[in-house]
Chain length 202, copies 2
Amino acid sequence: MKLFHSANSPFVRQCLVAAHELGLAERIELVPAAAHPINRDRAVVEKNPLGKIPALITDDGSVLHDSRVIVDFLNDLGGGDLVPVGDARWSALTGQSLADGMLDAAVLARYETALRPEALRWNDWLQGQLEKVASGLLELESRAMHFGDRVDIGTIAFGCMLGYLDFRFAQLEWRESHPNTAAWFTWFGGRDSMVATKAPSA
Amino acid sequence: MKLFHSANSPFVRQCLVAAHELGLAERIELVPAAAHPINRDRAVVEKNPLGKIPALITDDGSVLHDSRVIVDFLNDLGGGDLVPVGDARWSALTGQSLADGMLDAAVLARYETALRPEALRWNDWLQGQLEKVASGLLELESRAMHFGDRVDIGTIAFGCMLGYLDFRFAQLEWRESHPNTAAWFTWFGGRDSMVATKAPSA
């Protein structure tokens, strides 16, 4: 399998963490990609018309995206239990959706401050995105104390989201006001799968 | 069940189309919501920290989001076959991801032109988002001729995406250059589930 990859993408990281947890990491060849919302990477667009990463090329040549689909596929391929069944399924999937939505907001906040020309920035927009992150962190704080040793699509997504905040939004200092989440992430972030996939400059 | 709802949201529509196809529409009470990226709807935020719709309150009080999770849940509840199994699963899920990514891009393009103050608009950003829609339409054009009578998470997402383009981006006139897609949508858009969920002003 081949995975269009950037070491800085939290969505790519979700796939890699899942692959490590499932023992599949060595079967995935990483293909460097420069996904960008304006200067689109043509090699990626050819496989995924959205030009976004991650995108996975399976051994039979099929193209799968996005991270949710790829993690689900890897779990199936590896016969894993990262996708809970029964009632726990909906809570885990909604957790994944919350973490992904926080990441979407954080990435839009970053585009607003690091990509858009300074004269065209809109503070109301930036604050709206950061509010989503803040509301999500509050919700996570009430959930994290019940995570126990869960390793699934939900906790993997939360872990990669927190790693991205540390990487790009260190000034938020989220640990100070979210002690339960901080305690959980000390454990989860120390897993081999997380250590092996940390952004190099983080 | 209660669904936070706006008649204009293509993501809400995916849930409603699925509910109609599954015979569950009458079990869902629609709760009007004014989701907005800056002026967030506090009633929604209380249930979904992202402040986004759709969000579903199940009969036992659980909150589920986003549209992918809700459609998956409804399919399970209704014992439906909107989520294919086996190899067809990954193609359908990637189709859903493509349609959702096109919608995300279209919604960002709309925010750029209809919400952001005129002096702060960035044409490069707008064009980048519209390119994603255009590349996605090209891909869909090569797929649509093979859809047959498939009604699943993939085709529902494509249908709602095309409905949104008709609603908000009629000037794209996508039918002219995408005849296979146009032919398919003439059929799919005429389904009872699509007619019952069309945006009132479209």
